[in-house]
């Protein structure tokens, strides 16, 4: 079973990398870009965990390692 965990910065947390990317997109002349926030995507293959057990394992993975919940939010999707 495959899953995806997406980690993004909480709103209000300064994201200098996103700002730099935003600036680069604007200097390329890409139309309509208002702002950019950078995040991370983890594609995870699960071994023998389904449904609620898979959700629990992914939540644990996100909270214990993948995200720093002081500054980041995460979202878990089973694919």
């Amino acid at each position: 079973m495959k899953a995806r965990v997406t980690v993004t910065l909480k709103s209000g947390v300064l994201d200098p990398q996103g700002k730099a990317i935003e600036g680069a997109l604007k200097s390329l002349g890409v139309a309509g870009v208002a702002s950019v926030r950078q995040g991370k995507v983890f594609d995870i293959e699960l071994d023998g965990a389904y449904g609620a057990r898979a959700q629990a394992a992914l939540k644990e993975a996100a909270e214990r390692l993948l995200a720093n919940t002081v500054i980041e939010n995460y979202r878990v999707e089973l694919l």
Binding site: L66, N68, V70
Partner: protein
């Protein structure tokens, strides 16, 4: 003073730290590998040195903070033992929940490698007893992610409990945004844990301990620690 320097893959300041500890305290520190599960018995001080543990993968210090030896470091801190984290060591202590907050990318997005001035905010801690409160010291920094941040409530608590022990300042000790080179909130360069026995700081005092290098301002931190344990013995 019996000290232990923890070594993770990708760390590169452990020898500078070990050399300084030997030079100032007279006792050779133990180098402890990250996969070990125990500290040498009788360890007084645990030091987490600087570098790029695990290549800064995921987040600075994130992987190191979850390695086997950190349970022993946590237990050492829980029974009141002293822990010092410098640079990547500070990042690791934050990721390990031994200190609050997080170190973000420097505001100017650049890696900064140069001397900075720090104001020592208090001298009544095991780590800063070698200095006077308000004293300004010059020490080097070398980091890309040193921009300290925490939520407003945490910052208020750190301020209220006087747990901010080092701030970036001008050479005359004035707190000035122009001298806060990485944009850290409230010019925070070093903080104490809740019980005052864990210190994390971005600058490298271990690199300013010998006259041959041109400055010995970092020596007070290690001399103060050595004296603290001499008096406790």
């Amino acid at each position: 003073m019996k000290s232990a320097v923890v070594v993770f893959p990708g760390i590169n300041r452990e020898r500078d730290m070990a050399r300084t500890l030997k030079l100032v305290s007279g006792v050779e520190p133990a180098l402890v590998w990250h996969a070990d599960t125990a500290l040498p018995s009788g360890t007084d001080l645990v030091v987490i040195p600087g570098g790029f543990s695990y290549g800064d993968y995921l987040r600075c210090g994130a992987i190191a903070a979850r390695s086997a030896i950190m349970d022993a470091v946590r237990a050492h801190a829980a029974k009141g033992g002293l822990v010092l984290g410098v640079c990547n060591g500070f990042q690791i202590l934050c990721e390990a929940d031994l200190l609050p907050g997080v170190l973000m990318r420097n505001q100017q997005l650049r890696f900064i490698c140069r001397d900075v001035y720090l104001r020592v905010e208090r001298s009544d801690t095991a780590f800063t007893r070698g200095y006077n409160a308000g004293q300004v010291i010059r020490v080097p920094v070398a980091h890309g992610e040193g921009n300290y941040i925490a939520d407003g409530e945490t910052i208020a608590r750190l301020e209220g409990e006087r747990r901010i022990v080092f701030r970036y300042c001008a050479p005359d000790g004035i707190i000035d945004p122009n001298w806060n080179h990485n944009g850290a909130i409230n010019a925070i360069a070093g903080i104490l844990g809740e019980r005052g026995n864990v210190l994390g700081m971005m600058p490298h005092p271990e690199n300013h301990v010998e006259a041959a290098v041109g400055c010995t301002d970092g020596r007070g931190l290690f001399a103060g620690l050595a004296d603290y344990f001499r008096q406790a013995a």
